[in-house]
Amino acid sequence: MCLGIPGEVKSIVEGDLRMGKIAFGGILKEICLAYVPEARVGDFVVVHAGFAISCIDPDGAARVFSYLEELGAVREDEP
């Protein structure tokens, strides 16, 4: 139910209700951007039920790989 799909912002229409076109792979959908005023064309956003709920932070996106390295380093430090 709380499924969120990442997509790329392709265009933005400002107005009473901020809307935009988001690409999910090859599919374009009209999505409400009212909750991501910071989103710009080219950003990736997480979309849930027709609404973008966050902008994806590229640094945060790489964390899953660096954390594993960190865990490996902790293990090597142990006697």
Binding site: M1, C2, L3, G4, P6, E8, D16, L17, F24, G25, C32, A34, Y35, V36, P37, F44, V46, H48, A49, G50, F51, I53, S54, I56, D57, P58, D59, G60, A61, R63, V64, F65, Y67, L68, L71, G72, R75
Partner: protein, 372 residues
């Protein structure tokens, strides 16, 4: 697709499984409270990859599954009215009420539309000014801002032929109910990444402190969940009970401020009954008085009947992590997604439906628990 495929990569998953194996020294039970995570865990077999000391418990993470029978009954009454166009997310249609479901009402001629976004209901209301459009507003904090926008926009656009049947639930009070229950087995939580994308992490800190449980805000892809488990196990082994963020690419500590502002504008916190669990104080959202004109229950003057329907369904135990779906005597026999006894078998995010879809051929035939 970008930001999906890389989080399903095999070698990193293997690395995490090894790392978790090296961290763990004792048995730990970790509960996820998000149906999307439950679905990923069962679909990708993550629980079977983990060391035997780690048990993943599936919590009440599916809003469809916890929507009470009496709310479904109210939906059935409203959806049967000839002037109504009833809009719902698809997975609500087969959820059993006390005697029927929305799917049956639709097959008898009820005008029930499955929508992808609550905004679709708004478009229908504009397109059909002589009909009454009702939107079934269910969901956790993730969905609530989207649903709130319907009421807000309806008022702004001066639409009077649209209303919401609201059955929103919020997650932290349910986590507390589980922790406070006698005999709770939960040592740590994976908190729901998209709920926290909206609400942030602050409301989880008092829970972590009071009950001494680590809470790791976690995403939905296999690597997210494995990293979440690794962070949780690391805290447990270190004797820490903190709120940490695995899902950094989407979750900010303060959450989504514009979405929270909209939630406060339209909704207020109310008590709510959770199907299978019971009434939990301050665990739901209802429309504020300023939006009472958009309250479908008020508009159609429906009365709620609190009923205790006798059923073989053990979904209450499943939702609290006390029973695994294949251990239910009805699982896959008298209860299937086509003929569900309870809501956990209906939604693709319900634990029973996930086990039915991915595990029914691999699980051992259920022996009565007394023989085991």
């Amino acid at each position: 697709m970008r930001f999906i495929d890389e989080y399903r990569e095999r070698d990193t998953a293997r690395g995490y499984v090894e790392a978790i194996g090296a961290l763990v020294t004792r048995p730990w039970s970790i509960m996820e409270v998000c149906g999307g995570q439950t679905h990923s865990i069962v679909r990708f077999g993550l629980d079977e990859l983990l060391p035997p000391q780690i048990t993943l418990l599936h919590g009440p993470g599916c809003p469809v599954c916890v929507t009470p029978v009496e709310t479904i009954d109210t939906a059935l009454v409203i959806a049967s009215r000839p002037e109504v166009i009833f809009c719902s997310f698809g997975d609500m249609l087969r959820v059993p009420g006390s005697s029927s479901d929305l799917f049956t009402v639709k097959s008898k001629g009820g005008d029930i539309r499955v929508v992808y976004s609550p905004m679709d209901a708004l478009v229908l209301a504009e397109r059909h000014p002589h009909r009454e459009v009702v939107f079934f507003a269910v969901g956790f904090e993730t969905t609530a801002p989207a649903n709130a926008m319907v009421a807000f926009e309806a008022r702004r656009r001066g639409l009077h032929n649209i209303s919401l049947l609201v059955s929103h639930v919020i997650v932290p009070p349910a986590m507390e109910a589980i922790l406070a229950a006698p005999g709770s087995r939960v040592n740590g939580f994976l908190a729901a990444g998209h709920v926290c994308t909206i609400m942030g992490m602050d409301e989880y800190r008092p829970l972590a402190e009071k009950y001494r449980v680590p809470i790791v805000v976690t995403g939905f892809e296999p690597l997210d969940i494995l990293q979440g488990v690794a962070m949780c196990v690391r805290q447990l082994e270190d004797g820490r009970a903190e709120v940490e963020n695995q899902y950094e690419r989407s979750v900010r500590a303060a959450g989504n401020i514009p979405a929270q502002r909209m939630l406060r504008e339209v909704f207020e916190v109310v008590p709510r009954t959770w199907r299978g669990i019971g009434r939990i104080p301050a665990s739901g959202l209802g429309l504020r008085v300023a939006y009472a004109d958009y309250d479908a229950e008020r508009k159609f003057r429906t009365e709620r009947h609190e009923e205790n329907v006798a059923t073989d369904c053990k979904s209450g135990l499943v939702l609290q992590g006390l029973l695994k779906p294949p251990d239910c005597p009805a699982f896959g026999l008298r209860c299937t997604p086509e003929m569900p006894l309870g809501a956990t078998m209906v939604s693709s995010e319900g634990a029973c439906a996930a086990y039915y879809r991915y595990r029914r051929l691999s699980t051992e035939p259920c022996a009565p628990s007394i023989l085991r």
